[in-house]
Symmetry: C2
Subunit: 348 residues, 2 copies
């Protein structure tokens, strides 16, 4: 993004608010036909013809949602976009535009924000969303990112959290717990680094789980796959806070119960081995870890044949009447009530 060799000498206060947003977004290209006007006016102008639109918004705060001591800014920008478009996909919709607002303290040089926006630009390009606006301002402490994502949806294809029915199958994409275990590795290495800044950790065995934490992907591919398979889920949610908390959301809003089978929960071998290394139960990690950005959905049993052999999907449970409650059926065949223990950062 750097065109002018002298730019490294420009401070945020030299640029000011308007100069900064112009500078950071000047290379962003609008690709969506629905974007009539992007950054640069009081508001962006969009045109979706007869399509419905979906809107979602998320805040990411330094010290709460991310730690810059091991999260490179480019990755952070990328992840901030992923987190938001994931919510759009969880509606069975197509992401089209985002707005990006940042608040930043003067301790950040311009290069840091350029790195952040390079990550945003990369993700916007990969997920095919236009960055149509935003706000930049100073903060009294740390970095904060607020993103609003907009998407479009075909008629009658929206999928809410409240449509699960008894006898539906509970399905999850990908595997779970990786992002959380990646975070454990990063936290451990941070502590090691504090004691011995010259240590050269071998992170190679943890590549997959560290990438799940630092550079997660949203399951845009699944929305296309579901369409190709002619499967419309009865309910859907993305896994940002942990499987248990998302199952409780689906069941509460759909007014149903659920049996989740411990033995079916998909885990990557790297998650299992790292859990053993840390002496943590891998089911607990999958249930409460969060940040995997996989999709959790329910389908009617009629769709069983369409999804059963697909490696992207794992059937992990069975929807029941509300009165049956929400339970984990363990490998030992005991039934344990599931409670939300997902990310609850007001306790932090």
């Amino acid at each position: 993004m750097i065109e002018d060799k002298n730019q490294e000498r420009i401070s945020l206060s030299d640029l000011g608010e308007f100069g900064l947003i112009d500078h950071l977004t000047k290379n962003f290209v609008m690709k969506q036909k629905s974007t009539i006007k992007g950054v640069g006016d009081d508001a962006a102008v969009l045109e979706f013809k007869n399509k419905k639109i979906v809107v979602s918004t998320d805040l990411l705060i330094e010290g709460v949602h991310f730690d810059l001591s091991y999260m490179p800014l480019k990755h952070l920008g990328y992840k901030a976009v992923v987190v938001n478009v994931s919510d759009i996909f969880a509606m069975n919709a197509t992401a089209t535009q985002i707005t990006v607002s940042i608040a930043v303290s003067n301790r950040f040089p311009l290069e840091a924000l350029e790195a952040l926006y390079a990550g945003i630009e990369t993700a916007a390009s990969i997920y095919n969303v236009d960055v149509i606006g935003g706000d930049t301002t100073s903060s009294t402490k740390g970095l904060l990112i607020s993103i609003t994502a907009i998407g479009t949806i075909e008629d009658n294809s929206e999928v809410y959290r409240n449509g699960a029915k008894p006898n539906d199958l509970l399905v999850v994409t990908g595997d779970l717990g990786g992002a959380y275990m990646g975070l454990q590795i990063l936290e451990r290495e941070k502590e090691v680094f504090k004691v011995n800044p010259n240590s050269q950790p071998d992170l190679e065995p943890y590549t997959y789980i560290i990438e799940r934490q630092l550079k997660p992907e949203a399951r845009q591919d699944i929305i296309k796959l579901l369409k190709d398979l002619d499967v419309k889920p009865s309910s859907m949610i993305d896994i940002s806070d942990g499987l248990s908390s998302e199952i409780i959301h689906l069941c509460k809003q759909s007014q149903v119960g659920c049996d989740l089978y411990e033995e079916k929960i998909p885990l990557d071998p790297a998650v299992i081995s790292t859990c053993e290394e840390f002496n943590i139960d891998s089911t607990t990690v999958a249930l409460n870890g969060g940040e995997d950005y996989e999709l959790l959905f329910t389908v009617s049993q009629e769709d069983y044949l369409k999804i059963k052999a697909n490696p992207n999907f794992t059937i992990i449970g069975f929807i029941k009447e509300k009165e049956a409650g929400v339970h984990l059926v363990t490998r030992a065949d005991s039934r344990i009530p599931i409670t939300a223990q997902g990310w609850k950062n007001f306790n932090a």
Copy 2:
């Protein structure tokens, strides 16, 4: 908003993220036909048929944009909505929905957030916008509000910043400088209070300007009035950062110059008298004060008769060729180049 008498004992950590957003938004009513689904899923769903939409977003940060020592939380909630819908009106559009995200430290009790949301609800009701979503999270320091506003626009009625033409008239609504002088009064009283907490200031003479600061209004009425008068401005912007900075935006984006006449700048008598009291030049205050949320626009001379006698409008300048530059024509008839000295909080 309080239904349960025991609620005052509930802390933010008891409620958790999901409980909090449910609690704060449970009484919000969706009134817009375009709102298909509001708070409570991964994303809101909206349907605008064939209309174009406009999207704008703003961040408000404690210690940068507001000071809770004199800004009541209900007023802050109200103002946060106003600031955002003002950007929608500046496109000549109708505001329809907002998302509201807040980050808050544990020092805020639930009652404080209820007061904030009561202000948001009041403004949403007055400006007829639905609160369709948001995010609540903890912050490591202070309070932060991020709002995204959505609106609709009739075909061909969008007004950008870049349409001003030489010979157009420059028009402003209402009067300027009030919000800034209100802030000066509040800052002064804060200092007095520090020295003598028992002082009983007589703020009655400053009612208008304090209200301009604490409870500004966005000019929704002007959008309707312009339509009734059959006037489509050639360019428009809202005055959030100060007249000089907004004029420079319009001129830069329209590639024109401008003469602004000092004697024409509309000032309320309370602004003039408070400027005298503080020994500040009232023109400087109008040029650089900001936060008045009036609309600044240009019209072709053909529209002169439609607007000249309307008490809502003041013609304050004249658009010129780009080469003529952007100048203030003083009462003494000298020409001073206008530079942006609006709110530039990276210097703070």
